[in-house]
């Protein structure tokens, strides 16, 4: 039995992106002894990569904007599958959270009268995204990080949590390892906040980094918490497609927000052919009206280039399938014809840089080639909207790993605001819960020993070991081809068979060498959570027999009113088997429902 260190805290926050940092700041401000753990170095979490902006109804550019309009856009964008209470709190509190960042030193781009500037984004009725060029996430994470450093939070960097620990029904802490030394570390905590982000690394073409292995989703699931909406996966319409090595890297929606249009190989603005009845009343149906909208937003309807992401991604997918794609299997995204080189370089500096350096393309002169890339998971840990507590006492979740807020499809910009609103609420909820517990729950020594043994097993497989990288690559292929943008029963069934095969092989995944900073070993451990979320996604997708938002079935191409009333819930059965059920959505009160009945 290897030695390990144990740390005791009131609140343990797992994940140091926007959600985790905001949660830790809040818990600590409430007087809770707080630890913050992350797999990478501090400041490198996914949040740093966010580009376009933070959605908040500040009303700085359009004073008609308010939380009700933002709430309505969010619910409609999510195809009404959202937890209404989360969407309401989010829309109401996002403006305060953005101003708070400014109080902590953030420098957002300004309007002419010196207020925070807001930009257009898909599915948002008004220009709503507070931003800094196209590096908003960097501004956000640095501001939070710099604020947190002075708040007495203990940070454990490059430390990976492998399992949560429980005392009876309650959470009692977590166990993990230091990446640098491979040594075991144990946390004994009254409350745990999960803020681990998403699952993108289970897919082949993704905008996500190596960290996105679905750890938080799996940690919660293994601890007995419910996951919801796991079938709802967002494919961002615009990822890079060429050269192959950069395939999937994100091209911000800000390109379209700032005037970019999508065309196919015939030079046609094809989005006009994909306006669904659901959005028809608010979308321009002629090029003339769409063109006028850029300068006169009051009297014209929005360009279909800015329909929500699920709509645009499916449209691009269809154009490519119909043989109207670009040379490398995408479509064209052109901002150079509308905007000056100076404008593009000022508003979209990192896109300019990224294309220039990685693809030899000058976006101020030529169109980009873009195509869908797996970007975000709407599904996640089921939480109480007000406190962010999961179905396991003492376990909280916020940010991308939590479910409900975005329903079947997330609007751009609504994640960064989600991180702040629910990060803060999770920090509050966890601190309050911890404050009400008299004693720290006990660590279960037997469970702990079992986890340690499993963690080190990849070193025991010798030459018969499976290469973890190979299993990961095969899994990514499976998820991409069989559980991608368009799904059907036979492919999903096949995906589940394949995933089970990988699960079996992953038990023998092995590495050579020692425990010190050994990425092959780390991946062998991460595979377990990647496979758990892959199974959950495939099974939930098989269950929902309709198409809605980020879940499209060609064997059930339409939304169904019945399926629109339920969440698909994933939880672990007593024998460790995965159980799927459907449960009714929380009921929206009448005053909010009225917002959807008003003439638009």
């Amino acid at each position: 039995m290897p030695d390990y260190e144990t740390h005791e805290y009131d609140v343990l926050v797992i994940g140091a992106g926007g959600a985790g940092l905001r949660a830790a700041i809040e818990a600590s401000a409430q007087g809770a002894r707080t630890a913050l753990v992350c797999k990478s170095l501090l400041g490198k979490a996914h949040t740093v990569m966010a580009e376009g902006g933070i959605a908040a109804a500040l009303g700085n550019v359009y004073e008609q904007d308010n939380w009700q309009v933002h709430f309505r856009d969010t619910m409609r964008g999510g195809k009404m599958l959202n937890n209404w209470r989360m969407a309401q709190l989010h829309a109401q509190e996002a403006p305060d959270r953005v101003h708070e960042l400014e109080n902590w030193g953030a420098l957002f781009d300004r309007t002419a009268d010196g207020r925070i500037l807001q930009r257009d984004f898909g599915g948002h009725r008004y220009a709503r995204l507070a931003h800094v060029g196209d590096r908003t996430g960097l501004e956000m994470i640095r501001t939070l990080q710099q604020h947190a450093v002075h708040n007495g939070i203990d940070v454990f960097m490059e430390c990976t949590i492998s399992r949560l620990l429980k005392d009876g029904d309650r959470v009692s802490g977590a166990i993990g390892y230091w990446r640098e030394s491979g040594k075991v570390i144990v946390f004994n905590a009254k409350a745990v906040v999960l803020a681990t982000g998403g699952v993108g690394k289970a897919f082949k073409i993704t905008s996500n980094s190596w960290e996105y292995t679905g750890d938080g989703h799996s940690l919660a699931y293994w601890a007995g918490a419910d996951l919801i909406d796991m079938e709802c996966v967002q494919f961002h319409p615009t990822g890079m497609v060429w050269p192959p090595s950069v395939r999937g890297i994100l091209v911000t929606e800000g390109v379209r927000g700032d005037g970019g249009t999508l065309t196919n190989s015939d030079g046609v603005q094809f989005m006009f052919n994909y306006i669904t009845p659901y959005f028809a009343s608010e979308t321009a149906d002629t090029i003339e009206e769409a063109e006028r909208w850029y300068d006169d937003k009051r009297n014209n309807r929005r360009t279909p280039n800015l329909l929500p992401r699920d709509e645009v991604a499916r449209a691009i997918n269809s154009e490519v399938k119909a043989g109207r794609g670009s040379p490398h299997g995408g479509v064209f995204l052109d901002i150079a014809s509308r905007r000056s080189a100076e404008y593009i370089r000022r508003r979209l500096p990192s896109m300019y840089h990224q294309f220039k350096q990685l693809a030899d393309v000058d976006i101020t002169a030529t169109a980009m080639e873009v195509g869908p890339t797996m970007h975000y998971i709407m599904g996640g840990v089921r939480v109480d909207a007000d406190t962010a507590q999961s179905t396991v006492p003492g376990l909280f979740a916020a940010g991308e790993c939590a479910g409900g807020m975005h329903g079947a499809n997330r609007l751009g910009g609504n994640s960064l605001s989600d991180l702040l609103v629910f990060g803060r609420r999770a920090g509050l909820g966890a601190a309050e819960y911890a404050g009400n517990l008299r004693a720290t729950p006990k660590l279960d020594q037997e469970a702990l020993d079992g986890v340690v043994k499993e963690m080190f097993s990849p070193f025991d497989h010798g030459s018969a070991a499976e290469n973890p990288y190979t299993i990961q690559h095969e899994l990514q292929d499976t998820m991409h081809t069989l559980v991608g943008i368009i799904r059907n029963k036979s492919e999903l069934d096949e995906a589940m068979v394949q995933v089970r095969g990988y699960q079996e092989r992953a038990q023998r995944a092995g590495v050579e060498g020692h425990r010190q900073y050994n990425p092959g070993w780390h991946l062998s451990i991460d595979l377990k959570s990647m496979l758990t979320v892959s199974e959950a996604i495939a099974r939930a997708a098989e269950t929902r027999k309709e198409s809605r938002g980020g879940h499209t079935r060609d064997d059930y191409p339409d939304p169904s009113p019945e399926w629109g009333k339920v969440n698909v819930v994933v939880r672990q059965g007593p024998g460790g088997d995965m159980r799927i059920s459907t449960e009714p959505l929380p009921q929206m009160p009448a005053d909010l429902q009225a917002l959807f009945e008003e003439a638009h």
């Binding site: 109080n103 980094s209 350096q357």
Partner: protein
């Protein structure tokens, strides 16, 4: 596909050596892609840091053919096809393993910089700031904390003993940013002079040359900061002189 030899440093704090890995390089690949190929096929335990693969997180800093660079933004076609490429960890920081170094020095320095403290807001509870007043601050806030500037600065690269007395270019950028922030109220000039040791910098500009974010570290951050420090502490006359010249 072009066959290339990657010469990669393998080792830890106790020592190490370069090892050669032959790999096939395909179109458009960057150094980080090729390192990943080596890792997946030949050296499963090769240690390397990365996250975004798009020049946004500052994780993948290393020395490629002796030059400090982000591996994810270094295209393979920068080099002669088929030439051997040498990849080494950053030299200024203690080695953990292979290409991964212990950059905790930077996180320790960050803690010593007093927090931002804003003036009171306008009557409506928010702030007004003009874009032209924050342009410079936004340039500094592009910093992705890749620490390549810290790595290349000879004050600590060649003299590790200076580390306790020298914050390094990354943190001069941070100090300058706070100093020019329209809302901030804290005076950090004494810190810049004394604990951060800005006087050690002799404006070689090596830091500016390696900054992947094109921050003009020396011209826009260090020199103005040095002048502010000099004005205050050493030379009130020069301050008057500059005022008269209208600079």
């Amino acid at each position: 596909m072009v066959r290339t030899i990657m010469r990669v440093f393998r080792g830890d704090s106790t020592g190490g050596q370069y090892e050669e890995y032959p790999v096939e390089v395909s179109e458009g690949q960057v150094v980080l892609d090729v390192i990943h190929t080596v890792q997946a096929e030949q050296a499963l335990d090769l240690a390397v840091r990365w996250n975004c693969k798009a020049g946004k997180c500052g994780s993948c800093s290393a020395e490629v053919n002796g030059k400090p660079r982000l591996m994810c933004m270094t295209r393979m076609n920068l080099f002669e096809p088929g030439a051997t490429i040498t990849v080494a960890p950053m030299k200024t920081f203690p080695l953990i393993r292979d290409l991964v170094t212990d950059v905790s020095f930077n996180y320790e320095v960050a803690k010593t910089i007093p927090a931002f403290k804003p003036r009171p807001p306008e009557a409506d509870g928010t702030y007004r700031m003009m874009q032209e007043d924050i342009d410079r601050g936004q340039e500094f806030r592009k910093c992705i904390e890749c620490f390549l500037c810290q790595n290349v600065c000879h004050v600590i690269r060649d003299h590790p003993e200076n580390k306790p007395n020298f914050a390094g270019p990354r943190f001069f950028v941070r100090l300058a940013e706070l100093d020019m922030h329209p809302l901030d109220t804290v005076d950090r000039l004494e810190l810049a002079r004394k604990d951060a040791g800005i006087g050690y910098c002799n404006i070689t500009k090596c830091c500016t040359e390696v900054c992947p974010e094109d921050i003009h570290i020396t011209d826009n951050a260090i020199i103005p900061l040095k002048e502010r420090v000099a004005d205050r502490y050493y030379d009130p006359l020069r301050w008057i002189g500059r005022k008269l010249k209208g600079k």
